[in-house]
Symmetry: C2
DNA sequence: GCTGAAATCGCCTAACG
DNA sequence: CGTTAGGCGATTTCAGC
């Protein structure tokens, strides 16, 4: 099910729900220019096809007491697939790790972590992450401030692209 | 308005809406154990207080044709506040840059970028990012695969923490 | 196939206790 | 915080393009 399966209305729906995931279906229908029933059917279809992978309230981490955010670059000793998978599973089990991406280049993984304070993070770092099986190196960088945090994709870029080939 | 302003019901509301931002208010009320009207009032209060910063559908970038995801580490020549701010503003203006975090340590910023394909990203990299005023160095790493991508914070950790001090 | 209209059901959201 | 209650939205059904 490639992108070409999506017509302009579907793309508008995705863009609107990415911007406001709690919009009512009738409001959404109004914005994309169709009536509510077909709009709802399209949303369900997009959900089932996996284009929409969930809806989430974006919470303010710092205001909720998670004062520390850290990016951790992790190098492993073995890059065999079974060892990569084991490490990924460990990341899934660690609640302080919110994201885990496998990278090319000199480092194997980048992790985005949160913690209530530095000492909590340092305990996690020394007792869990650095101590984990197969972990060769960990370099961490504290987030000083966040200048931009936009979820998802830029639909403007997508539309420009489609217009160019159309 | 610190975290202590939040009672257990507020925290449950936040956890539920982080997990499913499109849940109906009556379903939410049922889950947190109060009736719908006070539940809605709490949600509104949490929104206005900034604990909830929005609701977003999580879309599948790759399935939408954004095949390339990249982390870029950026070093600047000048770290004067005015120059940092200028760079941050540029990041906000670039649609391919989805996140921009200022870091401590050897690198000044980490950027999460998306692009439809490698050539689009490389054009952006060479013509925009590397070419931008005050940018001294850019190191990029392609995302091979994503093992975990959980938005927000781990409420389980928050509750454990509160129980320990209680 | 798709959409839209009508009708039903359930939710939202005041106002009040 | 809960209950009530009126209005609106969600969702099914059905007809038409």
């Amino acid at each position: 099910m490639p992108t070409s399966r999506l017509d302009p209305i579907d793309r508008k729906i995705l863009a609107e729900l990415q911007a406001d995931g709690r919009m009512t279906n009738v409001e959404l229908a109004k914005r994309v220019g169709i009536s509510a029933p077909p709009c709802l059917r399209r949303v369900r279809t997009l959900e089932e096809a996996g284009f929409i992978r969930g809806y989430h309230a974006k919470v303010d981490s710092r205001e909720l007491g998670f004062e520390v955010q850290v990016f951790a670059m992790v190098g492993l000793q073995s890059q065999a697939e079974v060892d990569l998978s084991k490490f990924e599973q460990r990341c899934r089990d660690w609640p302080l790790v919110r994201e885990c991406h496998m990278l090319n280049g000199e480092v194997d993984f980048i992790l985005k972590c949160v913690a209530p304070d530095l000492s909590t993070f340092q305990s996690f770092l020394t007792e869990q992450l650095t101590a984990a099986e197969n972990v060769a190196s960990v370099k961490t960088s504290l987030v000083i401030r966040c200048a931009k945090d936009e979820p998802g994709v830029p639909f403007s870029v997508m539309e420009e692209r489609l217009n160019r080939t159309a």
